[in-house]
Symmetry: C2
Subunit: 354 residues, 2 copies
């Protein structure tokens, strides 16, 4: 009778009020029951059961916005990347991180909201785009270049945020990152153990923390191994043009027997090294040893595995989620560094006897 303008016909999701009607109780009771009755209100077991049943029957799911507004939490974690999360060029994709994020979030009972701010943020560039993340209880950020101003606002207002990748310059912003210093040092140690006395690092001309850390680990390990000498680091803004066969032959003649390249989006430094070695008529690993501080670009998958290390992207994503949920619950996050795994590969071998 009252049934004809009933809830089933109504377009849109069911509300607590509908559940309440069906169960014959008040909206308050529904909220209490579905909220797990944390306030310890005395409820008859039958009532609880009826509410639960009604909720199931209607397929009730709480509205995240309302929940958030009522000063509770959503169980939503945001992911915001400063470039498209799913770019057309798979090499720049954040997908591997997302896999870890996804799993860890699921395990902890959170759903993920992918904020699509930057990708086709046609209009944006205007401020305010970042504010949307407040819909979620907390948010993960990733990308090379961050809009520091906006992010700072969020953080200063106490919004729980975790950046994937080291980010010290923004005070108070939590982050998780790969331990490039240690991973790079390990690569150098391996090369030293193979008898190499002179090792060079080829890096791109960029001051991202990821690059700086590698250089630091590189220099520290050299020093520790007593291999300090002429400046062992080359910055190449355009690796393809600067790391030529001629250049490589010169270094080789000077006694450099191992070359280490930084990994970047494009893999330019590594490509240049490979080309230069080939162009110089040398062979790796018999003549010179090569190592890559990261994973090879996807299109080089067929080539022999480079000696170096793998960035545990999925693990980083998971660690980020742990840090974020830590912020949400206890207020503090755990240790931010994740170790990289050494990858033996086959581009490095014993130093040749000159």
């Amino acid at each position: 009778m009252a049934e004809n303008r009933s809830a089933r016909v109504r377009r849109g999701r069911p509300r607590q009020a509908e559940v309440a009607r069906l169960a014959g109780v008040s909206q308050t009771t529904v909220s209490v029951v579905l909220g797990g009755n944390k306030q310890g209100i005395v409820l008859h077991p039958d009532t609880t059961a009826r509410v639960l049943e009604a909720a199931r029957e209607l397929g009730y799911v709480p509205d995240p916005a309302a929940r958030r507004l009522a000063a509770a939490r959503n169980n939503l974690l945001g992911v915001f990347s400063f470039t498209a999360t799913f770019p057309t060029a798979v090499e720049h994709s954040y997908y591997p991180f997302l896999v870890g994020v996804e799993q860890e979030a699921a395990a902890r009972g959170y759903d993920l909201v992918l904020f699509t701010g930057s990708s086709a943020g046609a209009q944006s560039g205007t401020s305010g785009a970042l504010e949307r993340v407040r819909l979620a209880d907390g948010c993960l950020f990733l990308g090379r270049h961050i809009p520091a101003g906006e992010l700072r606002r969020l953080v200063e207002h106490g919004y729980p945020a975790v950046h994937i990748g080291r980010r010290d310059e923004l005070d108070g912003l939590a982050w998780v990152g790969a331990d490039y210093v240690e991973a790079t040092a390990e690569v150098v140690r391996q090369l030293a153990k193979l008898g190499h006395r002179r090792v060079m690092l080829v890096r791109e001309d960029d001051d991202a923390p990821a690059s700086t850390d590698r250089e630091r680990g590189f220099r520290e390990a050299l020093a520790t191994a007593g291999l300090a000498g002429a400046d062992p680091v080359v910055r190449a803004a355009h690796p393809a043009a600067e790391i030529t066969p001629a250049w490589l032959r010169d270094r080789y003649a000077e006694g450099v027997t191992a070359f280490v390249a930084e990994e970047t989006d494009t893999g330019a430094a590594w490509r240049a090294l490979l080309a230069a070695v080939e162009g110089a008529g040398l062979d790796a690993p018999s003549d010179v040893s090569l190592a890559l501080l990261g994973s090879p670009p996807a299109d080089l998958a067929g080539r022999p595995q480079p000696t170096g290390f793998d960035i545990p992207r999925a693990e980083l994503g998971a660690a980020a989620v742990r840090a974020l949920t830590g912020l949400l619950t206890t207020g503090e996050a755990e240790s931010p560094l994740v170790a990289c795994a050494f990858r033996p590969g086959s581009t490095a071998g014993p130093a040749p006897v000159h």
Copy 2:
């Protein structure tokens, strides 16, 4: 005096009410001004200016939760994949869809909620797992095998859902799909034009709509070209075992000069064909022509491009988003078929003169 528990001290961000106080107007006016006054209320320019100034001074930013609550609209689209978790491999076939989904969603001002089999079902076992998607205003579904029962419930309740890939069996479920019938027909027409009189289709033993459609397009095009004859379709449950060099040589001897393989996750049919041709000592395209009804598996990227067609995955994802937003706004979705692009490739050539 009332000032000492003032807004500046208050932790958190300014509300419209604070802006209103500073500008000496009502909260309503603030909302109207900052909302761009879409309702065309007459406001004195000075008032508008004062409000804007006050908002700037306080650094006002609207609360997305409140905004969405008031608008009764979350601007959230769900993405649900039926695999246990988001597939780890970037080269997995879902990735390209996501590219289009993200772009189109961003362009339309929607954010994405990512659901996976695991996240949705976490504790509750399987039943009710899908209900979680109600959190979003509408949801995209993708995957080969769908839990029909649960999805039906959602659709019957009027929940806006769009499946990526044809899905007729579930009445009322909207979908977008690639036009395999036409794309396959085009491939056959091209082969016919090259002089092939006998063409065979190798497909896996699966009745997914994607397979059925290709077979239909294949048979129709053959008929139209007047090439009907002995049964031109082989179903292979284990292509590697059934499509052998011997089998291929037999067909070749019978006058079959072109082979067409269906594309699937594994690419098994195509791999088997390639191997069989090679094993039989034949060459494509000089002896036999080969075509692939889809894109080659990633690990065959180095091989010559197969003749065939490309599934416009990103475009499909975008079309799905358009369909879903169509459902949300106007209540009806647009045309569900997306055309595939013919790919000339280099595995098909003129029929040999027998």
